[in-house]
Every structure is written in C-alpha cells, then in structure tokens.
Amino acid sequence: SQKIEQNSEALNIQEGKTATLTCNYTNYSPAYLQWYRQDPGRGPVFLLLIRENEKEKRKERLKVTFDTTLKQSLFHITASQPADSATYLCALDMVGDRLAFGKGNQVVVIP
C-alpha cells in the first residue's frame, strides 16, 4: 500500500540550530514533492516544491532535498527561530492532479 511517513514525535530544537525533518514514501513515483507549513487553527501554507530531477532546492533559510532512490525528502530549517515553530507537511503528487499529504511533523523552537 502507499505510505507517506513523517516522524510523529515533535522535534524540539534550540534557537539558532538547524532543524531537519524527514519524509519517506513507499509505492509512489512522484514527479514532484511539496512542503507546507501549518499553524494551529489554520490551513497549510505552501513553502517549497522540488521536482524529481532536482536534488536540492533552497528558499531563504529553508532547504529541501529529494532522493528518488531512497524515496526520501529532507527538509531543513537553518538558524531556526521561535517563529518557525509549526507543523510541517510533505505532499506528493498523485495521478489525477491530486496531492497526498503526510501527517506532518511538529517543530518547536526553544528560545
């Protein structure tokens, strides 16, 4: 069966450090992968998209990697700040113009 796995345990990290989140998937062949941020009581907000032929994508303090052999994407927040505290969702494209979302991984940045 198809699965998208993100760590269910919250990641607690000291301000200024780099937070790294993992998204693993099985039985998918995505052409691209997206990362979203979700704050409590709000809808997800798009952050980054990385295509299958791209190894790495950056946006400000965010970096995403995509390894189609390992079936894994890593999401990094460098120089983390308390305002980065949120839940981060990975999403894979599916046939039929749909996205399949992981359950998300919560990040807590400690001042």
């Binding site: 997206q34 009581g41 997800p44 798009f46 113009d97 749909r98 359950k103």
Partner: protein
C-alpha cells in the same frame, strides 16, 4: 487579493442533522479541493473539481457526503445525517491550474463538531 475563504469557521450540530460547508476559492483558480483533517491526522482527500470536468469523488467516505461547485467558483460540501465521527476540520484549497505542478492555496477551514 483575497485568499480562499470558508464559512462557517465553526459549526456545532447534533447527530443526524445535515450541514453545509462553503468554500470561496481564489478568483480565477480552476481547481478546487476538499480535505478533511481529524485531530492528529493528516489531510484526507475528499473531492476535486477541475473546470467543467466531472469531479473526482473518489475520496468521499460515504454517500452521506456530497459536494457541488456552481459556476466554476463557489463550492459547497454537504454532509447528511451527520455522525460523531464526522467531527473534524474541513479544509478547502484552490489552485490556478493543474498538470503544471501547481501549489494549493488553503482556506482556514471549518471546524465541525457533531454532538
């Protein structure tokens, strides 16, 4: 430019009642999606509209759930004979076009509580 809006923001209803949830997508966005998010769970796909094509209803959990999109814009998700397990946040998203790796823009969601 307004984002995706949803109403009501919160809805409390009694088991067995029908509810209607509304989504106003971003103007010009041809694709519209409904998702359900239960506490601690990921986004569960419900239904997808694209232009004038027949909607993809493959995610609707039962025949109590239905949705329509009028004039290619506003969408309404209807849940008939609500059950307690329908309690969740219902999220709507729109996208400008499909097949081009477009991102989805989400509304704030409707929090539904079935007593």
């Amino acid at each position: 430019g307004a984002g995706v809006s949803q109403s009501p923001s919160n809805k409390v209803t009694e088991k067995g009642k029908d509810v209607e949830l509304r989504c106003d997508p971003i103007s010009g966005h041809t694709a519209l999606y409904w998702y359900r998010q239960s506490l601690g769970q990921g986004l569960e796909f419900l239904i997808y509209f694209q232009g004038n094509s027949a909607p993809d209803k493959s995610g609707l959990p039962s025949d109590r759930f239905s949705a329509e999109r009028t004039g290619g814009s506003v969408s309404t998700l209807t849940i008939q004979r609500t059950q307690q397990e329908d309690s969740a946040v219902y999220l709507c998203a729109s996208s400008p076009m499909t097949g081009s790796q477009e991102t989805q823009y989400f509304g704030p969601g409707t929090r539904l509580l079935v007593l």
